[in-house]
Every structure is written in structure tokens, then in C-alpha cells.
């Protein structure tokens, strides 16, 4: 337990102060609420830079701030710490969250300008940001769970931000409840670890040293449950469907959620727990398979969607699948690298979609409404193109390097994984280029081009440009990233290695990307009608994809089945036990009171009898005691 660097404390203190000041300002100057938030973002960003420097020169730092012990419970050695852990992993996450999150804060100032709930938006938004920062620097599972839940709560508030829309309320509820299902896994894993280790506090360093000594069967459960938690937060099969529906919130929320805060939490959890998960028998393989399946399935769905934000949402699910696949293949470094680059290019894409929606004065836009925007919105077009190239994985954009690392690992593994990697590369290029062509080129015969689209203001254009620059360049710092991640890494070092440029995977991946881009060009430009007509010609296939291959309904029936069973049991319990107790109490007391009221005859003589009898009894008792 070393001395806490000031910048580490500032990462949590600055947002708390900003929230307090903002909450106070909100009561009388709601239009000024964003200033403390922006200041806090600046402080956190500078602190993150300083911390990354500290870690890369010094090493990991563990700080114990407060220890809560349950000494009142006899025989308990239960301790819950509130500490901060700073190592390469949290420093990288801090950099990502503070950079992307800060820029999106700036963007929101422009985007939400006309919204009447401007102040409320920034309070929620900064709370979201703060929760994620707390999650990243948590130094034990209990604390991490606390912030994990705060992230879920903040996402609920923000997805349902426009609460007057019933669809937004429903989406918020769905996101929250789906995440609760995942949280149950996290909670169970924490309980198992507590039971095994005997101490609730065990910070990560201590816990991971125990790793190999834990009973492998329990360890497998822990690994599985942690992955279960990650499937909800990071939108993996089967709990992914809340994410596309979470588009109901304002676009900056989607950008923050997809790039920096919410969905990265699950991948972060997996990376953080890698020393345990890597020992859990069968779990890494499961993660890889689920990740690959999610990536392919959601990419196929993304190809068919027409709402801009929805395409991007399915693309996020797909990319999270790629990251999970990378982790499952043991390439944690590659997965984290992809998390970083994905944060930049996906934030850019979302903010571009926000620009377009803003230009059309709508909360979201459909590809049929946006067409030929290239000349009207040049900045957005440039940023979108860079981010799309990065997403597709074209050399030398950032996404290429990170995706190449994972696809390379998949090719090394061979078999189904290699095929999956190539299919994902093809599909992601296909959907993103389809979107690019549909939105910025054209317009086509079936598209209604917007009337008077205008480029976004400076406060919106600057963050987008900076993020796009990140989407272009972040990939070049991969050596530095590995060096940073190695600091304080508790697991096997080989998991962090990010392979350099290799010709086989470059050729395999890039040819798939070019193929995808080519197919997208053909589908949108050469035969533009096909995109709308194929759904009519094969309604069965369209319906299958629209229903997410039945996953949604399967999950829904599972949930409804569980609810039915629970309701039956609960109903039986309620009608028999609870109602029985409640309704039985009255008659029982009434019968008893009837017996007693017979004694109250109203006759003075009777009372005196009882009085004398009582006095005699007391006297007898007193004499006996003598």
C-alpha cells in the first residue's frame, strides 16, 4: 500500500465535485451545468495522462483508502476495502474513457443545446462517466461490483432520458433488467470468491496470487459467472439485445455507451479477471465461441438494418464479439487494443450519425432519409470515412492493427475460428461500406434526400475531428500500449503480446475487407434497388434476420417461462401462506377475545372476586418466598 498519487485521487474527486457543483447550479442556472462537467473532464484527462506516465515509468500502485470490517459478526474476517488500483490496464482504460468521454461531453454541449432538459442531461451523463472511472480503478471485486451497478443505473437514466417517449422508457427498462440478469452472475461469482478466499476484500493482487490454489471446479464456475456478467454489459449472446434498443437515448449517450463506458466494462472485467479465467477449464473456449458467434450473427443483422444508429449498434455488438473472441483465444492484449481503437472509431461514427440526425432535426435518421450528404457535410463525411476505414480494418488505419491481431490469432488457431475471423472481416467491411455509400453518396431513386442539411457547429465538429484523428492514429502506438499494459499485469505475459505486421493475416484480412467493400458497392450503387427489394422477395429470410435469428424471442420465452414459474410459486405462497396468515389472524384473535370478554361481566361482585383471588395468589407467592 503505497502513497496515493494526487492525480489518482483526482480521477474520482473531480467528477464528484463537478456533480455536486452541477447539482447545485441545476436548481437555478440549468444552462450552466455543463461547465463544471467540462472542467472535471479536463482534470480527469490530465490526471489520466499523468497516471499513464507514472505507471509506465514506475509500475502498479495499490492504494487503500478505507477499510470496512464487519467485526460485529462473530467469527467473521469479512473486510470490504475501498481502494484504488492503478496498473497498465486501468491506466489504458482511464486514457480511453477520459479522452473519448471528454470529447463526447464537449460534443454534447452542441448536440443537446436545444433540448429543454440540458442540465439534467449533463448531470446524468457525468454520473455515467464517473461510474465508469470508478469501475476502472476499483481494486477488488466488491468495489468493482458497486461501480458496475452504478454504470447500469446511469445507463438506465440516460437511455430513458426522453422519458415522454414510451419506447425510450421501455428500452431503458429492458436495458436495466437485462443487465440485472448479468449482474446476478457477477454477484454469484463474488460470493463464491468470498466463500473460497474467506475474506471479502481480497484485492486483485492478493486474489490472483491465490488463483491456482482454488479448487478448479469452483474456479470454472467463477470464470463462467464472470463471463455471464460480461455478456450482459458487453452485449454478447444471449443477452445482447438491449444494446440495439438502447438507441432510444440521445446520440451522445449512445456514443459514450458504445465507445467508452458501458459496453467496455464487460471486456474490461474479462481482461481484469484473466488470471482467473485463464485457469478456468473450458471458459476461454466458451468465450471464444460465443464471441465469434455473436460477432457473425450481429454483423449479418447489421447489413440489413436501415436506421443509422441501429446499424452502428449491431456493429458494436459484432465488435464486442471480436474482442471476446480475442480474449477467448488468449490474446488479451489484442482484445484490449481493439477496445481502444474501437472506442475511437465507434465514437466517431456515432457522433457523425448524431451530426446527420442533428442536421435533419430528428433524434435518429434512416438511410432512406439521408443520401448524398457528402457535399453538404464535408467534415462529417471525412470523419465518417476515416472511422469507417478504421472499422473495416484497412491499412494503416487504427482498426487494421487491432483487428489484425485478433484475426491473426484466429488464423493461428485454425479451423472454425479462422473461418469465423475471415467472415467477420468480410461482414464488417460490408455493412460499414454499405452505410457509407447509402448515407453520403447517391441519393438513389428510393431515397428522399434531406431538404436543407447543414454542417454541425464548431463545438460538435471539433470533437468529431479529434476522435477521427484518433481512429486514424491510435493503432500506431501498439508497442507503447503493450509496454503500458505489462505494468502490474498479474497474469501470464504472453497473453498481452500483440503480434506485429504479418503478411499472411494482412493478405487474408485485407482481401476479405476489399471483397466486403466491393459487395457493398455493388449492392448500393450498381443495383441500389436490391437493398429494399430483397426483403420483399424472400420474406422468410428477412423475418428471420429481423427477429435476430429468433434469439430475442427465445430469450423472451425463457424469461417469460421463468416468470410464469416464479409467479405460480409466488401466487401459491401468497394465497396460501401470506393470505392465510393475514386472514387467519383476525378470526383467531376474535375467538380468543370472545373467551376473554366473557370474564368481563360488568358485575362489581365478580370483579371483586377476581380481586380477592389475585390478592390471595400474590399473598401466597409472597409467603412462599419468605
Amino acid at each position: 500500500m503505497t502513497h496515493a498519487p494526487l492525480s489518482l485521487l483526482l480521477v474520482l474527486i473531480a467528477p464528484i465535485l463537478a456533480l455536486a457543483v452541477g447539482g447545485y447550479l441545476y436548481s437555478f442556472r440549468p444552462r450552466l451545468v455543463h461547465w463544471p462537467m467540462l472542467a472535471s473532464c479536463a482534470v480527469v484527462f490530465l490526471s489520466a495522462l499523468r497516471l499513464a506516465y507514472l505507471v509506465s515509468t514506475g509500475g502498479a500502485v495499490d492504494v487503500l483508502l478505507y477499510r470496512w470490517s464487519a467485526a460485529w459478526a462473530p467469527g467473521s474476517s469479512w473486510l470490504v476495502d475501498f481502494g484504488l488500483r492503478l496498473d497498465g490496464l486501468s491506466a489504458m482504460m482511464l486514457l480511453l474513457v477520459s479522452t473519448v468521454g471528454g470529447l463526447i461531453h464537449l460534443y454534447s454541449v452542441g448536440y443537446m443545446e436545444e433540448d429543454e432538459s440540458f442540465g439534467r442531461f449533463f448531470l446524468y451523463f457525468h454520473f455515467f462517466y464517473f461510474s465508469m472511472l470508478g469501475l476502472v480503478v476499483a481494486d477488488n471485486y466488491v468495489q468493482m461490483y458497486l461501480f458496475w451497478e452504478l454504470v447500469g443505473t446511469a445507463s438506465y437514466l440516460l437511455i430513458g432520458f426522453w422519458y415522454h417517449k414510451s419506447s425510450a422508457r421501455r428500452a431503458a427498462l429492458q436495458a436495466f433488467l437485462t443487465n440485472r440478469i448479468g449482474d446476478l452472475g457477477f454477484l454469484a461469482a463474488v460470493f463464491i470468491l468470498m466463500a473460497i478466499v474467506g475474506r471479502g476484500d481480497s484485492n486483485f493482487t492478493d486474489l490472483f496470487q491465490l488463483g491456482a490454489a482454488i479448487n478448479p471446479r469452483w474456479l470454472a464456475w467463477v470464470g463462467f459467472l464472470l463471463f455471464w456478467a460480461a455478456t450482459a454489459k458487453s452485449a454478447q449472446f444471449p443477452l445482447y439485445f438491449w444494446l440495439p434498443d438502447a438507441m432510444e437515448g440521445p446520440t451522445p449517450v449512445s456514443a459514450l455507451m458504445h465507445a467508452a463506458t458501458m459496453v467496455t466494462a464487460g471486456i474490461f472485467l474479462l481482461a481484469r479477471s484473466w488470471p482467473l479465467i485463464s485457469l478456468a477449464v473450458g471458459v476461454p473456449q466458451l468465450i471464444a465461441v460465443v464471441g465469434a458467434g455473436t460477432a457473425i450473427g450481429s454483423a449479418i443483422v447489421a447489413v440489413t438494418k436501415t436506421d443509422l444508429k441501429r446499424i452502428l449498434a449491431y456493429s458494436t455488438v459484432s465488435h464486442l464479439g471480436i474482442m471476446a473472441m480475442g480474449i477467448g483465444l488468449g490474446k488479451v492484449g489484442g482484445a484490449l487494443f481493439h477496445l481502444l481503437t474501437h472506442g475511437f472509431f465507434k465514437a466517431t461514427l456515432f457522433l457523425c450519425a448524431g451530426n446527420i440526425a442533428h442536421a435533419l432535426h430528428k433524434p435518429t435518421a434512416d438511410v432512406s432519409e439521408a443520401g448524398g450528404l457528402r457535399k453538404r457535410m464535408p467534415v462529417t463525411f471525412a470523419a465518417f470515412t476515416i472511422a469507417a476505414f478504421s472499422l473495416a480494418g484497412i491499412y494503416p488505419f487504427a482498426g487494421f492493427f487491432s483487428k489484425d491481431a485478433i484475426i491473426g490469432a484466429a488464423l493461428d488457431r485454425g479451423g472454425g475460428m479462422a473461418v469465423a475471423g475471415l467472415v467477420i472481416a468480410f461482414l464488417s467491411a460490408l455493412y460499414i461500406f454499405r452505410m457509407l455509400f447509402l448515407v453520403f453518396f447517391g441519393p438513389r431513386s428510393w431515397q428522399k434526400p434531406p431538404e436543407h442539411p447543414h454542417e454541425a457547429g464548431l463545438v460538435m465538429a471539433v470533437p468529431v475531428s479529434l476522435l477521427a484523428a484518433g481512429a486514424l492514429m491510435v493503432g500506431w502506438g501498439r508497442g507503447g500500449l503493450v509496454d503500458l499494459l505489462l505494468r502490474g499485469w498479474p497474469g501470464n505475459v504472453s497473453a498481452l503480446a500483440i503480434p506485429g505486421f504479418e503478411w499472411p493475416s494482412f493478405f487474408a484480412g485485407s482481401s476479405m475487407v476489399l471483397l466486403g467493400a466491393g459487395v457493398a458497392y455493388v449492392l448500393t450503387t450498381v443495383m441500389p434497388e436490391w437493398d429494399v427489394t430483397w426483403k420483399k422477395s424472400s420474406p422468410a429470410l428477412a423475418g428471420l434476420i429481423e427477429a435476430d435469428f429468433g434469439v430475442k424471442s427465445a430469450v423472451r420465452s425463457a424469461v417469460e417461462g421463468t416468470m410464469f414459474v416464479a409467479r405460480s410459486i409466488g401466487g401459491l405462497f401468497d394465497s396460501k401462506v401470506v393470505d392465510g396468515a393475514v386472514e387467519g389472524t383476525g378470526p383467531a384473535i376474535r375467538a380468543l377475545s370472545r373467551r376473554f370478554s366473557e370474564a368481563v361481566s360488568g358485575s362489581l361482585n365478580d370483579y371483586l372476586w377476581w380481586l380477592a383471588a389475585g390478592a390471595a395468589a400474590l399473598l401466597g407467592w409472597a409467603l412462599k418466598a419468605l
Binding site: S597, E598, V600, G602, S603, L604, N605, W609
Partner: protein, 98 residues
């Protein structure tokens, strides 16, 4: 002498108790109460004299005073019941019946 004192005292006490419990007329019940108090007082005075203890005799006097007060309150209650047109007997006062 002790036997006599106890005899008279207990006789008065239990006759009083029997009257209080068994008779219905409020006046008689009040009389019974007075008898019980007197019975208890007799044994008190006897032992006070035997031990030459002024405290006990003082207590006996206090009990006499209380008995007088109690008679006043009791008679007032009976008078009140009579004025209200109720029979001055216990069964007439049944308002506390459960």
C-alpha cells in the same frame, strides 16, 4: 391474647370479604369494605402495641383516615347513582360489561 386478636381480625376481614363479594346492595358492600379495613387494622394495632412501635400505630391511624375518606367517596357515588334514578345495587351498574 394473640389468638383473640387474630380471631377477631380474621373474622372481621373475611365477613367483610363475604359481604363485598356476595351482597348486591352498594351500601352493604361499602360496609363490608369498612369491615375488611377494620379487621386488618386490628391486627396492626395489636402488634404495634406489643412492640411499642409508634410507626405502626401511626400507620393504623392513617388507615383509619383513608377508610373515612373512602367511605365519603363511596357514599357520594351511591348518592349520585340514587340521584340518577338508578337502583343503588351493583347489578344496575353494568356499563363496563365486555
Amino acid at each position: 391474647m394473640t389468638l383473640w386478636a387474630w380471631g377477631v381480625s380474621l373474622f372481621l376481614f373475611f365477613s367483610g370479604l363475604m359481604i363485598v363479594v356476595l351482597r348486591r346492595q352498594l351500601l352493604l358492600m361499602l360496609l363490608g369494605l369498612e369491615l375488611m379495613i377494620t379487621g386488618a387494622n386490628i391486627i396492626l394495632v395489636y402488634y404495634g402495641g406489643l412492640r411499642s412501635d409508634a410507626d405502626i400505630l401511626g400507620a393504623a391511624l392513617l388507615i383509619l383516615a383513608i377508610a373515612a375518606g373512602e367511605a365519603v367517596v363511596g357514599l357520594a357515588l351511591i348518592l349520585r347513582a340514587y340521584n340518577l334514578g338508578l337502583e343503588p345495587e351493583a347489578p344496575a351498574l353494568r356499563e363496563l360489561k365486555g
